[in-house]
């Protein structure tokens, strides 16, 4: 099962951030060369969140004691023991990450099918809503589950929905609208939708 976790545009090279997918906390990061990765957000050394760390080149380093990890989640370097070749057993739990249609998707292990492709659309923004997925989608009048489609502020939208908890989700919004005025109106409508959903308003 693929979960959308971010717009590709919002995770440029050298960025690492925490995301939640399928109830798991992950560190999502992009290397200098553009490779996207999603790992368990827990350093094998002392459990520090790797999303607090930093990317250098093709490796992710932990902020705490600086252990760094390569593409396969293998430990590359332990700064306190610079001459030590880190044992193979020190490994971060790696999830599968893939990009399609301007979205970043993750899955716990390689699914049968590639992630859903929303088609040629432009990314608008992601926003987190303190309300459950189903309530938000029905309030917005959007149809579908992982990729929901419809109209907001008179503009056609595609929303990739990331459930985060029973009463929290993130919306990753794409649109074909190219004009600045339309895009701004859509962004403001999303804020309004969030206010309504968080106030407990239900679809009629």
């Amino acid at each position: 099962m693929w979960t959308p976790v971010a717009l590709s545009r919002d995770v440029p090279p050298l960025v690492v951030l925490p995301v939640v997918a399928g109830g798991r906390e992950l560190a999502l990061w992009r290397s200098a060369s553009g490779r996207i990765a999603a790992w368990a957000d827990r350093c094998p050394h002392r459990g520090m969140r790797l999303s607090h760390g930093f990317v250098r080149g093709e490796a992710l380093s932990c902020i705490y004691h600086g252990w760094s990890y390569g593409a396969a989640g293998n430990c590359l370097r332990i700064p306190a023991h610079p001459d030590l070749e880190p044992p193979e057993t020190i490994r971060v739990a790696v999830h599968v990450a893939a990009e399609a249609g301007g979205l970043i998707w993750v899955a716990p292990s390689a699914p049968e099918a590639p992630p859903p492709d929303p088609g040629a659309l432009q990314p608008l923004r992601s926003l987190t809503v303190e309300a459950g997925t189903a309530a938000v989608l029905s309030l917005a009048g959007l149809a579908g589950d992982t990729l929901a489609r419809g109209h907001l502020a008179g503009v056609e939208v595609t929303v990739a929905v990331q459930p985060i908890g029973p009463a929290r989700c993130a919306l990753h919004v794409l649109t074909g609208a190219a004009g600045a005025a339309e895009r701004i109106a859509l962004s403001r409508e999303l804020d309004a939708l969030r206010r309504r959903a968080e106030a407990g308003e239900m679809a009629a």
Binding site: D10, L17, S61, I63, P82, T128, A180, I184, S187, D191
Partner: protein
């Protein structure tokens, strides 16, 4: 210019940051904000009866508000930071300088509550802080649509300096910053500015620091 300063204060840090970015010469006077509560002592209240920091003093001029201090430092040492390119930019800078007071009153208070055990209505402070972060996020989304990478235009101004510290330090007050992608990218741009200086909890981009030499 003398700055009455406390190292952990975001409102003092923004002045140090602007001074570093503009090359302004400021003299720091450390205030024992915690645990000494020096800002509430009679001597300090003679300088700022409101009992807040930062305070700036120069040749009889006393400024007791961080937005006013930023304006003064910029006018003297880096007028481009005032954002006077056109009417819109100028008004946007004024708006964000005023907005920064809401950040102090919400995120700032949540932070002194959690870190220094100062009394506060912590739920109200956190709710106010989240509301502020959402407003900054939405504003940055709109700026991006208009082709501008900073709060008041396509270059950094006082607007960014005024709002940057609390946006970074919100987690100290129990306010998550995970859900704001536009804020994340904007704070990275500020942290990469030439001349950027750090404070505890706010660091230069690690990826811009050289890799420690292999032993």
């Amino acid at each position: 210019m003398i700055l009455y300063d406390y190292v952990l204060s975001p409102d003092c840090y923004k002045v140090r940051l602007l001074a570093a970015l503009t090359g302004a010469k400021i003299t720091l006077r450390a205030v024992d904000f915690h645990p000494g509560a020096e800002h509430r002592k009679p001597e300090f209240l003679k300088i700022n009866p409101a009992g807040t920091i930062p305070v700036m003093e120069e040749d009889g001029l006393v400024l007791t508000d961080s937005s006013a201090i930023l304006t003064y430092v910029a006018a003297k040492a880096g007028p481009e930071w005032l954002g006077d390119d056109d009417a819109r930019m100028r008004a946007r800078v004024a708006q964000w300088l005023a907005f920064a007071q809401r950040l102090s009153a919400s995120i700032g208070k949540a932070r002194t509550h959690d870190m220094l055990q100062k009394p506060a209505d912590i739920d109200a402070c956190r709710a106010g802080g989240i509301q502020c972060l959402r407003e900054i996020e939405a504003a940055l989304v709109e700026q991006d649509i208009l082709g501008a990478r900073f709060l008041a235009g396509d270059r950094p101004t006082l607007a960014d300096i005024a709002c940057f510290p609390h946006s970074m330090l919100a987690p100290d007050g129990g306010i998550s910053v995970d859900a704001y992608p536009a804020i994340r990218l904007w704070t990275r741009r500020i942290r990469a500015l030439p001349g950027f200086v750090e404070m505890p909890g706010i660091h230069r981009l690690h990826d811009l620091k050289p890799e420690p030499a292999k032993a």
